[in-house]
Amino acid sequence: MTLKRTAPLVLMTAAALSMTACAQSERDSGDGGGGSSDVKDTLTFGAAGAPELFDPLYATDGETFRVTRQIHQGLLGIKPGTADVQPELAESWEPSDDGLSWTFHLRQGVKFSDGTDFDADAVCYNMERMYNQKGAGQTAAEYWTYFFGTFSDDPEGSLYKSCEAKDADTAVIDVTRTTSSFPTILSLDSFSMQSPTALEEGDANNVQAQGEGFTYPEYSMNPVGIGPYKLDSYDEANKTVTLVANDDYYGDPPKTKTLVFKIIPDETTRRQELEAGSIDGYDLPNPVDWQGLEDDGNNVQVRPAFNVLYLGLNPEKNPKLKDLRVRQAIAYALNREQMVTSQLPEGASVASQFMPEAVSGYNKDLEPYPYDPDKAKQLLKEAGAEGMSLTFAFPTEVSRPYMPDPQKIHAAFTKDLEAVGIKVKEVSKPWNGGYLDDVSANGAYDAWLLGWTGDYNAADNFLGTFFSDLKGNDFHTSVMPWGKTLSEDLKAADAIVDEDERAAAYEDINKRIAEEYLPGIPISHSPPALVTSEKVEGLVASPLTAETFDTVTVAK
């Protein structure tokens, strides 16, 4: 009885106390203070999603790579602000005459953050470790499958052949065929060098399929690599990843000692956190906010566009699309110039081909099809396709760097197509809710919106992705008379060792794709941005969204 009567009183006092506590406490954004210097020792960056794990071999998304890039390095790195490779853990490399054997001269005196030496043996240990994935590990090592093909139990399909430690500072990697992608792909985060000791002790390859997912070994949460930072903690309950300076790093120590990634999936909340001063910057600000953010004194950095948005066409689904004149009519019908101006952020451009200008093999002489509805009508008439119908799809619940608002882009193009007499049947599906399945696996649409962000600077990473695989590609080029030629020519171009010769081959292919094949309509290249407060300096925006944070300072 007494307890019952006093309970509300106790509760009220507790609440009152807690309120006072709030009012009295100091607002402090986690800056450790320390020293007389005028820069903070913590940089807090708003990430759009949670990392998956920290062993980059099994990682698949940009939010994870943003973290692993700070704690792991590869033989090759990316030159800041560009899409080009530069030496990282290898100081130089050269191919044999046939392009099948590559010698890497390693940086000397480098140690992993656990003290293990980095040498040629470590390089080969890593290559063999990736190549020898078994069972579920093979499925989880998605990037290896994508870029190297198969594993040691099926050597026929693998790009990687073997690795030999010639001496402590020289590693030789043999490949099974020449391709423009090698050794460029060694700059990808997934193929970073990790400590053999730690990999061994942490049973790093022990990936198991369980239930509807995979279980990963201890190591994947306790990575040991070479980088300006090392992982301190992943506080899942508070959604923060904390990195601290790696004292064993061979290069200049990071200018800001502690790097915190605060996971804030909602874009509006990220912006509000920046306005409130609790984060120092964030990725992917909404283009409509760019001006407002700049006006508030923030620094919006626009990355060079390294992507392409296209309107895909499926001639197998809609046989009318087999006629080049119909495909050209669609290209003339779309007012891409206006769409780019009204829907895409500053710095976006109309695409003339299926890759951005920064990629070698880009054909500068190509012009986009101009907006010409009369020509479109005329071509449709010639092809006997007046009043044709077209199932045209767009994804919902998604915003990609190349496509901030799919629905609006789709609406603009639908109007354009209807203006030339094409009957558009609109379809939409959630991005993860069947859209990608319908485009790729099911081939369910006549026309659709999709795009691609490049992984590295190679034409094959764009054109090869779209058209190389004759049987399985989204554009169903196998039903077209030129489908096989295109696929073979792309593979041949990729195998050319000489860079200039290769670029010329791709320029020619780009010209033919635009003028003779037109398997889809390239739409635009759209630059993603990142934003930092006015106190932040030294962050170099990367077209590959591969920023490193070791050069960044935050003023107090």
């Binding site: 807690s18 986690g30 093979q138 509807e212 909602d266 790729s440």
Partner: protein, 335 residues
């Protein structure tokens, strides 16, 4: 009483079983799925097939369900693919639950502490400007959607005026985690700044979440006190010359609070639904937040565990309400 509880618990088993069946088939009939969510634009027919097979999603749904039941019987509820890849789905539920409980607890505390005294006051001064004002306020509380209010509060008090933090549960202070109840953890480890930071982060979300239970509890208290005030035994007590304090405590509040207790119990269940939205607005790492992430990434194992567990919590809370009703009101017990 014991039979009543056992019967209700048995009912719960049936509910969970039927729900698990429906949930399992519903999730898998949704377009898209885990494989597309993981592979994105990079999907090729080969990788798609390999991943589908590795995850066992190529099997007929009833085979998948049977495997799920078998594993569940051994206490294995599957592995996450999105929320925290590789982690056990049940572990994710358990590690996220404290955040939601903490938020709901403070919201309910706020609602009860404000609503009962104000409801009583309103009833004593029925018809006064104070009463009318409070009734209107409570109406607004029910009518305004939680997420809208949450957004408004956040904008005014966090973004415009930096009184409270914008989002999250705590500043990054390298706090030790014991129970994942952040306020409690700070007290246990004597890292008091951690508790303070957690409390500061709690204010806005719990305020937003408290509005609906506040309004409901306030109105029930007011109505109930009004009713009791008109009862014969109150008039008798007054005419006996008892002090106002005794009448208020023993005769009015004790009797008036019976329906209020039930309401509080029922509101607790409702809080879970409100918490999902509030967690989204405030980037609060609880169940609601995990549910949204899991749904977006088609993280089947996590979705199954979270939804089933939420259903069980709801059923248990309702059972507790019924039991507490019987304990407080002897008339229910004897029936």
């Amino acid at each position: 009483m014991a039979r009543f509880i056992i019967r209700r618990l048995l009912q719960m088993v049936v509910v969970v079983f039927v729900l698990s069946l429906m949930l399992f088939f519903w999730l898998r009939s949704l377009p898209g799925g885990t494989v597309s969510a993981i592979l994105g634009e990079r999907a090729t027919p080969q990788t798609r097939a390999a991943l589908t097979k590795a995850l066992g999603l190529d099997q007929p749904v009833w085979v998948q369900y049977w495997r799920f039941v078998e594993r569940a019987a051994h206490g294995e509820f599957g592995t996450s693919t999105r929320v925290l890849p590789g982690a056990d789905a049940l572990d994710i539920f358990l590690s996220r639950l404290p955040a939601t409980i903490e938020l709901s607890f403070f919201a309910l505390l706020l609602a009860v502490v404000l609503a009962i005294p104000l409801g009583y006051l309103s009833a004593r001064r029925a018809g006064s400007p104070l009463d009318s004002g409070l009734v209107v306020t409570s109406l607004v509380g029910v009518a305004v959607p939680v997420f809208f209010l949450a957004f408004l509060l956040k904008y005014q008090l966090a973004v415009e005026h930096h009184v409270f933090p914008v989002s999250g549960r705590q500043d990054n202070l390298s706090c030790t985690r014991v129970t994942n109840f952040f306020v409690l953890d700070g007290l246990l480890t004597r890292e008091y700044d951690c508790s303070v930071s957690a409390l500061k982060h709690l204010v806005l979300p719990s305020l937003a979440l408290a509005t609906i239970p506040f309004a409901v509890i306030y109105r029930i208290t007011r109505a109930s006190v009004l009713e009791v005030l008109g009862e014969d035994y109150v008039r008798t007590a007054e005419s006996k010359g008892l002090t106002a304090r005794v009448i208020r405590g023993r005769h009015v509040l004790r009797n008036a609070l019976l329906p209020v207790v039930t309401t509080i119990g029922l509101q607790t269940g409702g809080l879970l639904a409100g918490a999902v939205l509030t967690e989204k607005v405030f980037n609060w790492g609880g169940i609601g937040n995990a549910l949204a992430d899991a749904f977006e990434g088609r993280d089947y194992a996590v979705l199954q565990v979270l939804i089933l567990a939420a259903a069980m919590i709801y059923v248990v809370i309702n059972l507790l309400v019924d039991i507490s009703y019987a304990v407080i009101d002897p008339r229910v017990r004897t029936r």
